[in-house]
Amino acid sequence: MKSQIRIASGQGFWGDLLTAPIDQVTKGPVDYLVMDYLAEVTMSILQKQKRKDARLGYAKDLIPLIEQILPTCVERNIKIITNGGGVNPQSCSEAILAVARRLGVKNLKIGVVGGDDILDRIPVLRSQQIELRNMETGEPLDDVLDRLESANVYFGAWPIVEALQKGAQIVITGRTTDTGLTLAPMIFEFGWGATEWNKLAAGTIAGHILECGGQASGGNFAGDWKSVPDLEHIGFPIAEANPNGDVIITKHADSGGMVSVQTVKEQLVYEIGDPKNYITPDCVADFTSIRLNQAGENRVSVSDIQGRPSTPFYKVSMAYLDGFTAFGTLTYSWPDALEKAKRADEILRARLSQLGLHFEEIRTEFLGYNSCHGPLAQELQDPNEVVLRIGVRSRDAGAVERFGKELAPLILTGPPAVTGFAGGRPKPKEVISYWPALIPKTAVSPEVSIDQL
């Protein structure tokens, strides 16, 4: 057993800093690179791509990235774990194998974790009395059944552990929890058991700290943000994990940003619910047991974590089509900028109403004034400029399209000193809404396979 492993966060979301994973594997020693690519909206986008081309449906950015880092990872024996396989981890693996062949890499094993995509199985599951009701509202799935775009089970760390046990140097998964990506190498290297709840919770919390990349190492830091050094070269967080579950959060020495008790605290509270019950497929972690200490410059120790048994359910994330939206902006200048923007909004709304168009919602915000804090925003004294931002939503795509055609006319038929319409007409965009549900763990099973070069 290794006495310690270093797990590096490479991406906090699909679209994150492209240089981060390269820095993580080149600027200092690490054993694992973990990359989270999947937000909820991502799965339905990928599902659409796969429907057009059966070889797509994964995070395409991953392939040129692997091409850049694979030789280093092979040379230094760094394992890569990512959920960038999206709705097609098998094709993602094949694309990586093609890259590896081109690079002349030998003896590469890629672990592929699938089985999370249950879209086609929904009728069968429902015939087995698995209702898939909305776990937040209690509504029955029938309400949206004919509009479903994707349905994926969140698997945890164990299928990744299986792939690592089979010798995988790269593990590509579909819908896996962000925390599972980091927990898996700890289970694998330290031989943790399936009921060692405190350790599993410790690895889960390390995963929570790593899952948003630079947001734990000085990015988006609301404390003394001006004191964060060299964000230009921000180092993403690294977890130094120990067999007993104690973890040090740090970053490479030759990098910017900052790892402090405060930056880690901010990431701990990010997107959590009841802190005593942080539920994952692997365990229930208690965030009120965490002890943090500054253990050196850019080193924070995370210890004393308590966990409890996992639940008998997986979470399922489903997405369904839910109408259309469009957004448009116009910029009004001094004098009376806000007054002009408000008048333009009034005129536009009256015209939409005269056309008899139906919208579920029309929302007006004034950027530079109240789009962040609404009624809490302080009054402006004669601002230099104000951006009018109007959004509409409707089941009727035609109404949304027509809204897009009513915006530009305001330039010549509304209040004066207006600009900023270079982007053209706002285009209707499909709204994808979420349907979270629970499914008994016994009803689905992850599929782990190995592709070999």
């Binding site: 005593k276 929302r363 809404s433």
Partner: protein, 109 residues
């Protein structure tokens, strides 16, 4: 003593569906009892009048000197459905730091 939360706290917010969460963190250990006493779920709900349309839940995390607030029905439908510029509630953390509390005790800020 009148204090704006900005003087004694930092915060981060995010989203889950149409619910936003704001983690309010005391800048110093001695500020935690102050926010635990004065920043109640009711006061936060009143602060966010017109923004948070549902209920407000509060959870305590004394181990890291933080409170976690769940703001229900706060994001205009959430996700891609929301028409808000801040559809994910990323700036609601800063909005909570605008809140002022009146303390009986005097606090060194």
């Amino acid at each position: 003593m009148r204090i704006q939360l900005r003087q004694i706290c930092h915060a981060r917010s995010g989203d889950k569906g149409d619910t936003a969460n704001v983690g309010l963190i005391a800048l110093r250990e001695e500020y935690y009892p102050v926010i635990a006493r004065y920043v109640t779920a009711e006061r936060v709900k009143k602060h966010f009048e017109g923004i948070v349309l549902g209920s407000v839940e509060r959870y305590e995390m004394p181990n890291i000197g933080a409170l976690n607030f769940l703001l229900h029905n706060a994001l205009g439908g959430g996700g891609t459905k929301s028409l808000k510029n801040d559809a994910q509630g990323k700036t609601l953390s800063a909005a909570l730091l605008r809140m002022e509390i009146e303390t009986e005790e005097s606090i060194k800020v």
